[in-house]
């Protein structure tokens, strides 16, 4: 049982890390950035290339990859999304297409081999309550929790974060207060993309970087976002823990082949019972009416 609790926590935080960038972008700009998975893998690929091919220090390679992904996110908004802002279906199609283009471009560039393995930050492991855990997973939990706390602080205590929340609550009123909505949306897509890169750099060292992970990340981000409420940070955290522990318990006590089904069942149930998600506010009025 101890192992289930420990690994349930690890998997939950990893799910939260995966989804948090996606949720931030949607919550603030209303854009479902379906290029999230593509940017996630791009970050891993860039880090590997900068670290192995160019010989940069690992930390520097990671930071550069995060910045590059953030800039790409901003460019995605400026060059593509700005032109279709407000047309939800067009935004979804545009970002989905971009995500696939990034992933398949990486596959074409050679991201097929097993050699794209990012090294763990620290070798070895430790015991948590008698359960052996490698340092990378332990760091993923620490960094994940810090990131969530940092995101809460950013959106509640900083000028830019409060501006983001203002845009998310009521764009017209925010505009009346001088908050530039397009700039805020661009920054939110940039931040969301950078967060996807951070998640990639922490999680990808656990295995091999491959293109297929980019498609799976999108499903995970969707599942967590829809269950928790796409625009709610608290919702993301609660949903991540709900799904993380459900998957872990399912794997241990029912059967491993239920792991992927848990996400999909959760999405369907939430969409039936509360389509805006557990802590979601969008469409709440329509739901009540």
């Amino acid at each position: 049982m101890g192992a289930v609790l420990v690994y349930g926590l690890i998997n939950s935080v990893i799910l939260a890390l995966t989804a948090i960038g996606f949720s931030l972008t949607f919550g603030i700009s209303g854009v479902a950035n379906l290029a999230h998975g593509g940017l996630y893998i791009l970050a891993g690929y860039l880090t590997w290339q900068l670290f192995i091919h160019l010989g940069l220090p690992y930390a520097l390679a990671a930071v550069l990859a995060v910045i590059i992904c953030g800039v790409i996110g901003a460019l995605i908004y400026r060059l593509v999304l700005l032109r279709v802002r407000g047309l939800m279906l067009s935004e979804v199609i545009a970002t989905f297409g971009l995500g696939i283009a990034i992933l398949e471009a990486l596959r074409w560039a050679g991201l097929i081999s097993y050699k794209y393995k990012l090294p763990a930050f620290i070798k070895g492991g430790l015991q948590i309550g008698g359960v052996a855990v490698d340092y990378q997973r332990f760091l993923a939990v620490i960094i994940g929790l810090l990131l969530v706390a940092g995101l809460w602080f950013f959106t509640h205590r900083t000028k830019i974060g409060l501006a983001f929340r203002g845009i998310a609550q009521n764009e017209r009123t925010a505009l009346a207060y001088g908050i530039e909505s397009d700039q805020a949306a661009m920054l939110s897509v940039a931040f969301g993309s950078a967060l996807a890169a951070v998640a990639a750099i922490i999680i990808l060292p656990l295995g091999v970087t491959t293109v297929d992970i980019g498609y799976e990340i999108l499903i995970i981000a969707f599942a967590v976002g829809i269950v928790g409420g796409l625009e709610s940070t608290l919702g993301i955290v609660v949903a991540a823990f709900l799904l993380g522990y459900s998957q872990t318990f399912a794997a241990m006590y029912i059967g491993t082949h239920w792991i992927m089904i848990v996400n999909l069942i959760a999405i369907v149930l939430v969409l039936i019972i509360k389509p805006s998600g557990l802590f979601g506010k969008f469409k709440e009025l329509e739901e009540r009416v």
């Binding site: 192992a3 289930v4 690994y7 690890i10 998997n11 596959r107 097929i112 081999s113 097993y114 050699k115 393995k117 090294p119 763990a120 070798k123 070895g124 492991g125 359960v131 052996a132 855990v133 490698d134 656990l206 295995g207 091999v208 491959t210 293109v211 297929d212 992970i213 498609y215 799976e216 499903i219 998957q247 872990t248 794997a251 241990m252 059967g255 491993t256 082949h257 792991i259 992927m260 089904i261």
Partner: protein
């Protein structure tokens, strides 16, 4: 006005491109030019095994063409390899899409034969109907389900065009049973907990392994079937530990399996992992995983992907592959049988003296040649048999990562370069 100008320019460019294309298509062939014999290669080119298979086949084509080409009825012709990505290994790609790609290759490139074939057994089996429809001889080198042999045997007239020289789930099961039997004799093991990917070949192999071991008195203490996309293996590993497993046969062809070994080592699960773990054959695996791969026994499906000490052709292939592509074969299957498949098809066409499909099939059925994988012959089920003596059959083997960071052949015993070593926490 500006809009009209743009339209005129675009129309002009399109017309120019069409004219150039037409000129190229109608250009007379240079005197003496011989029509190449086209070999089609439809498989998952977006994955390491597809790329490896293409690399192996390409090497063979280059060698054959450098030696003058293939002799078809007295005329030497070059071989041209035409590949297409069927994407059959990508999650969520419908089988119909993969079949469309194969049909496109057959109709557009008009190959005389196909080599390699789709990787996913489910798609490979469905594609056999295309071989029947177009009377297309084929030698498969990736998909491993024994259902292939059943189809050929039960409907010979329809599926006679299809052959296969990769190993099968049954042979892989036999090899794992033989290895586990040896582990039982040497270390006293007798409890097994397979962890496998939820795909046809893995289920077949796990099934064959378990049945074989149970017949020897072993106990299957549990099993974990992992769907595609899962990256955390902590729970199945803990279940194996709680069940008292001593050997964990692993059957995975996707990269996520690297995490399984990483977690096995971190959690110090006291059971021996053996089996199909593709990412760990990579020469950098020892360093990438900080030595956590020590003790893992990897099944090499076909000799040549890793050289077998008693098979010089496998060493030749391995060294040629490294020289040609600048790296060792990746993963544990595909490169050497794909290389051999081109030679087998060439040999059959030359003996048939024609590109007539039925004549090629008759010739293929009489194949008896030495390749990088060992001796290649076909049974009535059009499957090349695998065994332990490369003078008689094709050969699979096992290697183990050992200190200070090398892979050693450890089974079959007659060709072992080193003894099997248990990890420190496995008693």
């Amino acid at each position: 006005m500006k809009g009209n100008t743009i339209k005129v320019v675009c129309a002009g460019l399109i017309a120019l491109l069409l004219a150039i294309s037409l000129m190229c298509a109608c250009a007379p062939k240079p005197k003496g030019a011989v029509e190449p014999v086209v070999f089609g290669l439809p498989t998952s080119l977006g994955y390491w095994f597809g790329v490896g298979a293409l690399n192996g086949a390409t090497m063979a084509v280059e060698e054959i063409n450098a030696a003058g080409g293939i002799n078809v009825g007295g005329i030497k012709r070059p071989i041209k390899l035409e590949s297409i990505d069927t994407r059959d290994s990508a999650p969520g790609v419908p089988t119909a899409d993969s079949l469309l790609a194969i049909e496109k290759l057959i109709l557009e490139k008009k190959p005389a034969a196909l080599v390699v074939a789709p990787n996913r057994s489910e798609v490979m089996l469905a594609a056999l109907d295309l071989n029947a429809k177009y009377k297309m001889p084929q030698i498969g080198t990736l998909a491993k389900t024994p259902a292939f042999q059943t189809k050929v045997t039960e409907s010979y007239d329809k599926y006679k065009y299809c052959f296969r020289i990769t190993t099968t789930s049954i042979y892989m099961g036999d090899y794992h049973v033989a290895l586990c039997k040896y582990l039982g004799e040497k270390f006293g093991f007798n409890k097994v907990f397979p962890i496998l990917q939820d795909v046809l070949w893995a289920r077949g192999t796990a099934d064959a392994t378990t049945k074989g071991l149970e017949a020897l008195g072993w106990k299957k203490v549990g099993e974990a079937v992992i769907p595609l996309g899962v990256t955390d293996f902590s729970m199945p590993l803990l279940k194996a530990k709680d069940a008292g497993a001593q050997v964990i046969p692993i059957f995975f062809d996707m990269p996520e399996v690297a995490q399984l070994i990483d977690q096995w080592a971190t959690m110090q699960i006291p059971a021996m992992p053996v089996g199909v773990v593709g990412p760990l054959l990579d020469p950098a695996a020892w360093e990438s995983y900080h030595g956590k791969v020590e003790g893992v026994i990897l099944h090499i499906c076909e000799a040549g992907v890793w050289p077998a000490p008693n098979l010089p052709k496998s060493k030749e292939f391995f060294n040629s592959y490294v020289k040609r592509w600048g790296k060792e074969p990746e993963g544990i299957a595909g490169q050497s049988p794909s290389y051999d498949a081109v030679y087998v098809m060439k040999d059959a066409i030359e003996r048939a003296g024609t590109l007539d499909p039925d004549a090629i099939v008759s010739a293929l059925e009489k194949t008896d040649m030495k390749g990088a994988i060992g001796r290649i012959r076909f049974g009535k089920d059009h499957q090349a048999p695998y065994g332990y003596d490369p003078k008689e059959t094709a050969l699979g083997l096992f290697v183990q990562w050992q200190k200070p960071g090398n892979k050693k052949v450890v089974f079959p015993l007659p060709i072992a370069e080193a003894n099997i070593v248990l990890p420190a926490w496995v008693k």
